[in-house]
């Protein structure tokens, strides 16, 4: 039986810029940073959820992607059509204000949703779409 999520990945257009965004802007921890040849596995995660890590996977031509594939995927990521994720917060409005003050690009401010949540939507600095979600009590 599968019992928990351990690792997942986002495609990012620039690993260094993504590392800055996830650590300095969102406040995540670095979980792993390993370089083998020209491949770098770097993962981050929430301080409050130490057993989950998110790989920041470089969108560049190499062993996995051809130049055409990397270019195509980059367009999809930048357009917000590829990476999606929901982050939970205790206070959507407060976190929205904090992240907005740090320059995070929001595509939707905190909004009451009919299914019992308040949700805002932002992009990471590659274009991945992130939902900031608060359960209403």
């Amino acid at each position: 039986m599968i019992n928990r999520l351990a690792v997942t990945e986002f495609w990012v257009t620039d690993q260094n810029a993504a590392l800055r965004f996830y650590t300095e802007t969102l406040g995540f921890d670095i979980r792993a940073d390993v370089t083998v040849g020209d491949y770098r596995w770097i993962s981050v995660g929430l301080k409050s959820q130490p057993d989950v890590e998110i790989g920041l996977n470089a969108l560049k031509a190499g062993n996995l992607l051809t130049a055409d594939e990397a270019q195509f995927l980059t367009k999809l990521v930048e357009a917000g059509k590829l990476g999606h994720c929901v982050w939970k917060t205790d206070d959507c409005h407060k976190t929205y204000d904090e992240l907005k003050a740090k320059g995070v690009e929001f595509v939707q401010p905190p909004t009451d949703r009919p299914y019992g949540t308040i949700e805002a939507i932002f992009k990471d600095n590659s274009g991945n779409i992130m939902v900031l979600s608060q359960d209403k009590r």
Binding site: V7, E9, Q15, N16, A17, A18, L19, R20, T23, E24, F28, D29, I30, R31, A32, D33, V34, T35, V36, G37, D38, Y39, W41, V44, K47, P50, G55, N57, G62, N63, L64
Partner: protein
């Protein structure tokens, strides 16, 4: 490849002496190749110049010390072979993406084992020994 033993020796010397001041002229003398020829062959084999490889080793060691030691950033800078804190910080930020102090803040809970998930290593065809 011709001179493959010398290229391997050059890499081993860099692996051993990365924390000491080492120039391409000294390295090339030690492996009995001209600097130009050493750089050309080294790049052909390892996809980077000896200098780039040296920087890679120093930065990798600095990352390790930042996340797992109590040494100050100045001490780490000197320990891994940089002579100036300014150039170390600038280079570290450029290569890694964040400053040494930001890296230290964010990496305190980093795993101690150098681990790449199998799915990632399989997809990216990564088989070599890891360095961090």
């Amino acid at each position: 490849m011709q001179h493959s033993k010398q290229i391997l020796l050059a890499r081993r010397l860099l692996d051993r002496d990365y924390a000491t001041p080492i120039t391409i002229e000294q390295l090339s003398r030690q492996v009995a190749l001209s600097p130009y020829y050493l750089i050309r062959l080294f790049r052909r084999v390892y996809k980077q110049t000896p200098h780039q490889y040296l920087i890679h080793l120093r930065i990798a060691r600095a990352k390790e010390l930042l996340s797992r030691s109590d040494l100050s950033i100045t001490e780490i800078c000197v320990t891994v072979g940089f002579e100036s804190l300014g150039s170390f910080s600038t280079l570290f930020s450029k290569v890694v993406g964040i400053s040494p102090s930001a890296y230290r803040r964010s990496s305190q809970s980093m795993r101690t084992s150098a681990y790449i998930p199998l799915c990632a290593s399989w997809l990216h065809d990564v088989h070599e020994t890891t360095d961090a």
